[in-house]
Amino acid sequence: MSAPKVGRFTSAAIPLPLENIDTDQIVPARYLKVIDKAGLAEALFRDWRFNADDTMRIPPFVLDEPRYRGRSILVAGENFGSGSSREHAPWALLAFGIKAVIATSFADIFKNNALKNGLLPIVVPQDLHAQLLAMAAGDGASEITIDLAAATLDSGAGAPYHFPIDVFNQKMLVQGLDELDYVRTHSEEIAAYESAHPRPIDTRSTPAEGRTA
């Protein structure tokens, strides 16, 4: 398996200043009947981008505004990615070309899922958030450079901002290392733990006759 690898990239941003954007908006549930990860770009923010008859909304949703096309950084409001655990949300954002989401906070499961796929959830303070939103919506194509190895976000205005990132996630993504491979290097410890901690749970045993509902 090829683990995601993230370095340094530069792009202007797309402004989406809404709070509590839930994963049902990022990928509506009817797009979850897939058994692979392909084709999810068209599902991204589907119901905010398209009418019921699949024509694009007029005026278009921010992702479809011509001046924002091709940008790979999304600036959204607090608690981005709340709700469902669907990993289809980061898959769809990446498929659309988004490499980082900047917000004042993220929902826990979304943040985990994003990091597993190399989509950067970057938390910034309120004032910088407001500044980045204004820049994104402004006339100039103000670019932001994100450098994961240095954990910096440079918008050209003032000193680069050092964003918080879990050092483990940072190392894995910068070096392109696979988390599952990492856990498997601990197989002996896992086996030792399992033999020392038997549990009275066996899903394969034939259910005894017993009370259910």
């Binding site: 709070e19 049902d24 897939v34 058994i35 499961i109 597993k116 856990v183 896992i190 066996d202 259910t212």
Partner: protein, 471 residues
């Protein structure tokens, strides 16, 4: 150092804790369903890896399956394909499956507890954010993404940083007509949908102790709606009485030994929490949501908030957007709002006690003309039990639709959905835009409030219905 129940379960499951790295946490039970697992099994195939512990893994089909009779094939080809893929994956990897049409099929968070697989002190994960449900047994249970599903299938472990702790103490006694759903909706209305981010809730206090296991599951289920990946309740005699005699519960000497251990799973009296909140159960009314996230809820006697009264401009715009989507007027009472559909079911409120409460309100009555009432049992076992008790006949006689088990209109993946613009009162957990069907509008409420509303076709206070007050 004094420990919370969260510390105790966590410490018991740490396999390895290297400096700078997240803990490798052992997982006791992995629940699998058709929607978030296909890509994980594909990943195992690509790596040439088996499922490490099929005996700690169990699957069911719940999200995309139809709730129409099982003698018909699954009409939606994508859903049928996904269910077939699950069957193939379980067969190839030796994972036990309670599949579509089988005796114990049902919503993954309903069947785990009813089969006795959900046990105190366990770590439980599932590719589903409502996994917190199992915390009702004093288990550390949380939702994971598909990459993590793959990791748990391969290693029976998860990489985790330890979350912070958040004590939710609910003191006092619920008034008649007010139920567990109202406690959790009130909590989320107070702290907001991001209030518990980075934390695990421990629910405690006299009002929590007084709840049945199914009511406790309703509360823990919606922890994620308050931003917390997990929520739990220390096990007690209510827990043990629920578990005893269930198919996968320990038996004989193993039962006694397990109960002795489970009794140690309480937070020490002087344990410290990172956050705390106190809720007065006596002061709670039935709750209803009015907006597009579960934090937008109010007591049923309340009026819709006004964006112009909101000082924070971002919050004002969010509220205005929600009222626009819902097509509701600021300042109007929530009572009396008309609905087109009543949905009773889901992993939040699709258990037998929920159906009994709703049936008690509807017994011998009929629903409002033109209204659609859909009752979907949380599992096939719940369905059989309800039919033994004649609840299906009560719902049908009232004019309702009695369905097969599944997630159904909670997530609207299976054809059970609202039409654009339609209003539903729903016992489920999410009122996000389009959650119950594109363009659909959802009011979240308890089974009592939903059933009382079914009688009139307008949001109705269950305390005005004699049978609900007795419930």
């Amino acid at each position: 150092m004094p420990k919370t129940i969260i510390d105790k379960i966590w410490d018991e499951h740490v396999v390895s804790a290297a400096p700078g790295a997240p803990a490798i946490l052992a997982i006791d039970l992995h629940l699998v369903h058709e929607v978030t697992s296909p890509q994980a099994f594909s990943g195992l195939r690509a790596r040439g890896l088996p499922v490490r512990r099929p005996d700690r893994t169990v699957a069911t089909a719940d999200h995309s399956v139809p709730t129409t009779p099982h003698d018909l094939p699954i009409a939606d080809q994508a859903a049928a394909n996904q269910v077939r893929q699950l069957e193939q994956n379980c067969a190839d990897f030796g994972v036990p499956l309670h599949g579509w049409g089988s005796a114990h099929q049902g919503i993954v968070h309903v069947i785990g507890p009813e089969l006795g697989l959900t046990q105190p002190g366990s770590t439980i994960v599932c590719g589903d954010s409502h996994t917190a449900t199992h915390g009702a047994f004093g288990a550390l249970a949380f939702g994971i993404g598909t990459s993590e599903v793959e990791m748990v299938l391969a290693t029976q472990c998860l990489l985790q940083r330890k979350p912070k702790s958040y004590l939710v103490r609910v003191d006092g006694q619920l008034k008649p007509g007010v139920s567990a759903k109202d406690i959790i909706l009130a909590l989320i209305a107070r702290i907001g949908v991001g209030g518990g981010t980075g934390h695990i809730f421990e629910y405690a206090g006299s009002a929590i102790r007084a709840l049945s296991m199914e009511e406790r599951m309703t509360i823990c289920n919606m922890s994620i709606e308050g931003g917390a990946r997990a929520g739990l309740i220390a096990p007690d005699e209510t827990t043990f009485a629920y578990l005893k005699g269930r198919p996968h519960a320990p038996q004989g000497a193993a039962w006694e030994k397990s109960v002795d251990y489970w009794r140690t799973l309480t937070s020490d009296a002087d344990a410290r929490y990172d956050k705390e909140i106190v809720i007065d159960a006596d002061a709670l009314e039935p709750m209803v949501t009015y907006g597009t996230n579960p934090g937008m809820g109010l007591p049923i006697s309340g009026r819709l908030p006004d964006p112009s009264q909101e000082s924070d401009p971002v919050a004002a715009r969010a509220l205005a957007n929600a009222l626009t989507y819902m097509d509701l007027t600021a300042g109007a009472p929530i009572l009396g709002q008309p609905v087109n559909t009543v949905f009773i079911g889901s992993c939040t409120n699709g258990r037998i006690s929920d159906l009994r409460l709703a049936a008690n309100v509807l017994k011998g009555r009929t629903i409002a003309p033109g209204l659609r009432l859909m009752v979907v049992p949380g599992s096939t076992d719940v369905k059989r039990q309800a039919e033994r008790e004649g609840l299906d006949r009560i719902f049908r006689a009232a004019g309702g639709d009695w369905r097969e088990a599944g997630c159904s209109m909670c997530i609207a993946m299976n054809g059970d959905q609202l039409a654009p613009g339609e209003y539903a009162i729903s016992t489920s957990n999410r009122n996000f835009e389009g959650r119950q069907g594109k363009g659909g509008r959802t009011f979240l409420a308890s089974p009592l409030t939903a059933a009382a509303t079914a009688l009139t076709g307008r949001i109705t206070d269950p305390r005005t219905v004699e049978q609900a007050r007795q419930g």
